[in-house]
Subunit: 379 residues, 4 copies
């Protein structure tokens, strides 16, 4: 039945979770989802209290994923949770996603999709076999002006692409990294919790994703130089990756968590033989379009001159800024359309394929660095 | 009972309403409200369909305000709608607010609060007598950096204020105003629907409110020059108001709907004997703080260096932009606290007093212009 | 003879003069002038030393204006100084300009042209009778993007003008104004040295000039509210002027020297029925052009898409910023063309008429304020 | 004798030369130089006409460098040209500089200093032996805010540097590069005229220089990936270089001439363990200083809070933009001090060592690319 709201479950994202509130608001925003239950906390009592606070049926605040799956599957189809958002620590994403997909649930998964590329491929195959909807929340693809950029490039606004450059600079690790004890306590620097990579796994992969998302190009190989800053720190906190696409376009991805003072400075520049496009996440309502021999143009959301895809991604009149929650809301809206079986625009939400591409990119970056900055193919 | 969500009703804001989606998202955002019912549309069938789409109990999609009040009052107190958002056309705000307040409902009211200052005063008295919570949605006061500005000024960051300047420029009327037939069809230019003023009533009053909100100063008198552009257009589409505060501070408020190409350019600059502060709505995450003899500083949301009030008004880490929906969400959150009887920070939501001040300002502007730009006191 | 460089004399602007270096560099820049002599300092010995430092013929470092005129007139015409820049304190401009013009010299005069409007008119009549070239250095008119703005408006890019807004905010008086002794020592606050007005005389008039320069409109009347901040301070340090042009366009001019933290923030916005244009002096290489329903465009100097007038006002390839010295250099270049009797583009340099307009504006502002904010015509 | 102006000669830079006007204005600006003669054009008659136009002694408009040297050396020392600016095509810089230095002239040389690193080293040795002043015009080092950045880093404002990133993006080659005939005619793409590298030789080296200039770090090795875009184009038009400094700091230099729509977008970001600094050439009057846990600060020229070096590099009050000509003027001023034998601040002008470093960097970039992106040491 496509009429009502989609029943949503959450794994993780309970009390005091920053990412939890982002997902819940995104779900509320489009009025497409109804939060029904989930595993809100490792501590069952706390999860029940959370459900109470949100006025949910506490019987659907489960103690574990296994119980969640068992109990929900036992419900009649029209009462059952249809889609589950996985907001747990990184190392749990893969196993949880596998179980949920295997049980037939649609899944919305926080990044990173898995810890290894092999796991991502395994998950991709399962998703395809199970024919469920799988959304990977590369949030920045939900911004209207990122979608406008994608639409303009697809429409030929900048011609044949000849250079790509994306950057993601943060400084948040700086206060921790210089002290041996402090850095040992940062979970993102702990391979067991964080995975193989910190900087490229957490943020560099966003820059990579933005390039493939907006341009439609496929990165073929990378050469990367990464930095752990201290020998006892096992994971990268900074690095640069040279890239080449299948079409021979060269480019660069810069990422850093020791860019002291930077907050969340992700930006992308794409240049073609007819023009260029630039976008920065911290000023997300401005897209700069440069054309050979003409004044640069500033595209802003909410205007009829934008592509349909961008127009659909705005809820409000021009000049009223929308932000990160709205971007995530757009991704949830796109996913809802897919769950309902409606026609979905390409790019309406990132999927399992984006996850596989990202994990392969991260592994290629690490391998390149290990080999002393060799070119590594992303197969 | 303070535990559960606050039961929310809506009057207006149904299908295809731009302002409706803003209020609903704002209500969802803080997880403080549960939308229960309302009068969603003039057409009852359409209102019921809307309730169905949102999976509400259709029996609470009422045909009129009168029925709404009667039926809700008949419910047990713990089932009853506790707060009602009024999102109807301007000319209905006053009478609806009077009826709802009189019946004991808390109210969240779209701007303008009423059509005349006298009506606003009447409403203010009723609100005081009935001791209900009344929120007027001057949305821009919900931005974290506006609240930071208010907190910094209160803390003396710029010293004694010596100059204020606020501007609200839009261009949206330009495509309609130059054609006699077209301008006759713009509802905002129709005194019956829009009230006494278009430009100052709709946007100039926001600039006025931002000044009083951030500075704590009270504007004592105004001298205004307004423009209808064409003699057959009964309402202002542009104008400038000189202002003086009780403390003798001089300032200016510029407003225009014929500033062709401008989208929603509202900004405020306040200068004191120790420093200055500047903020622009279209780049809401930047607050510029200038001090005598020092480099300007750029304050951004989500940072611990901000005042508590500003910190509480952000949901996310620094560098992730929040926008208009988040600003409205903050106002809804503040209102929820008040409804629950909890301690509420001054400025957490604009109230009936702001409405009275705004209406008096608008009438003073009109009177000043009528008298050929005379100084008119705001009593 | 038009072949060689124009012989330039300076009155004032000697050692340690800030404005002196601006004019000399402006003169050198276009390689149109040769500095030959002048009255460089009240102290003759210091003036001679200055001439020596600049490797000038010290016999042409005169002790007074009278001697300057006498000695130069005694020289053969082809050796004589052809144009004199007046860089003395404000109160001397008028008498010096009168003497020089009367003696047949071309004049480049710093702002303000005179202390009163009557003096300016007197000077204007003499200039017309003597048929000399007279340049008043409203420096901001020399910026390429201001000229582009003028050219675009003249070419109809924004259609019929319907709103003008110019602002000039500084904070430099703030450190002096709050202390009775300090403010008594600021020469700009001393009517004997500064003239009738401080804020409007020094900076407000620039905003006025920019409006008339870029739009071609003539301001017909003004209503102004000015502020001295302290009763014992005789001159304005802040104010706002409502304006109306002959064609009925309304607008506003805001000026302040107590906008704490502001450096030299002069900006102009002009809106027509087809589009709008915005420019800010502190970012002088960007001109924003907004059109109904289209993305805003950013015009930058050095590009072939600019009007000829703007192109001629840049010396360098796009992307290499030019600044204030270059703007003044453009005005000197325009003046040189006029002195040589060559065809000069309208607007290539501001003239005596701009001086008369400015003085009348200042007097109207003061009179309006004196009458309690009445409308005063600029005759 | 230190009293008078320094006698300046020019080689090249005559009629219609873009770079000629930059150098002449820079020389005039500080009133330290007097242009006396030179070899203004390959065509002697045209050179003489140019001298006439500038009112120079035409007997010092020489037909060749050889004649220039012979005739000037024949003059008494106090009449002789003391410093010569070399503004000829790239391939002539080395031989001309060698001859001039060998003859004892001080030299101001346009970039690139030579075609090969070996030539640069040869020149460096001669300069040292001859004890002349040698200035290489890396113009961007003349901006006040670049000097402020250098001074702040030296003073420890950002602590120990941990990441550097510089970029130089232009799009000017785009209109020519895609057509086989057109690109064959671009002199910068002709190795005979331009040298071994186009993009890195012309602009990438500026980014490299800015890094070493502002940080004081020495780049030890590079790994570069460059792009000619078409196989028949012999020279690079785009590329990225990974860098490592002697202290183990990692960084990246991005350069492109096919960044379509970019004008002259050179920027630098340096991050340390205490803060970060960012500067962009197209907005040269803003320097962003970020500190851990504090609002970012915006430094602007002309303010007493700046370092002395930066203060000395501004001629005017805050808020009046200075640009590229002023930057070059600062370099000329620094060179003048050195020629006069006065104390010169480190960094007051770039010298032959900067030229040697730059050429070695360029050759390392090319070698790295040739070897398939290997790490190459800069010896």
């Amino acid at each position: 039945m496509n009429k009502g709201k989609i029943k949503l479950g959450l794994i993780g994202g309970g009390p005091n979770s920053f990412i939890g509130i982002v997902h819940r608001i995104a779900a509320y925003m489009g009025e497409q989802y109804q939060l029904v239950g989930g595993v809100f906390d490792i501590d069952h009592a706390s999860g029940i209290a959370f459900a109470e606070k949100l006025e949910l049926d506490t019987s659907r605040a489960y103690e574990s994923l296994e119980v969640f799956i068992e109990k929900e599957l036992a419900l009649p189809a029209d009462e059952r949770i249809e889609v589950v958002s996985i907001l747990t620590p990184n190392f749990l994403h893969h196993s949880m996603a596998m179980k949920l997909v295997d049980a037939g649930f649609n899944v919305i998964c926080e990044k990173p999709i898995t810890i290894t590329a092999a796991e991502a491929v395994e998950l991709e195959q399962l998703v395809e076999r199970k024919k469920v909807v799988f959304c990977l929340t590369h949030t920045y693809t939900g911004y209207p002006m990122v979608r406008q950029m994608k639409a303009m490039i697809a429409a030929g606004a900048i011609g044949k692409i000849q250079k790509v450059d994306a950057q993601y600079y943060q400084g948040w690790i700086n206060p921790f990294i210089h002290d041996k004890d402090k850095r040992a306590q940062v979970w993102r620097l702990d391979p067991k919790k964080s995975g193989q990579s910190c900087c490229f796994g957490d943020i560099g992969v966003h820059a990579f994703n933005l390039i493939e998302y907006t341009t439609g190009l496929e990165v073929e190989k990378v050469l990367a130089d990464i930095d752990t800053l201290y020998p006892d720190n096992p994971l990268d906190v900074d690095g640069t990756a040279l890239i080449r696409t299948k079409d021979g376009v060269k480019g660069v991805i810069c990422a850093s968590q020791i860019a002291t003072g930077e907050e969340n400075n992700i930006s992308i520049m794409v240049y073609g033989d007819k023009g260029g496009l630039k976008w920065e996440q911290e000023n997300p309502t401005y897209l700069t379009y440069m054309q050979e021999g003409k004044p640069a143009q500033i595209f802003k959301p909410g205007n009829p001159y934008n592509a349909e895809f961008a127009q659909e991604s705005t809820k409000i009149a021009p000049g009223h800024p929308e932000g990160l929650f709205d971007a995530m809301g757009n991704i949830y809206k796109g996913t809802a359309l897919a769950i309902r079986g409606e026609k979905v625009r390409e790019g309406a939400f990132p999927g399992v394929k984006d996850g596989v591409r990202g994990m392969k990119f991260i592994e290629a970056v690490l391998e390149s660095n290990k080999q002393g900055q060799a070119w590594i193919e992303i197969k």
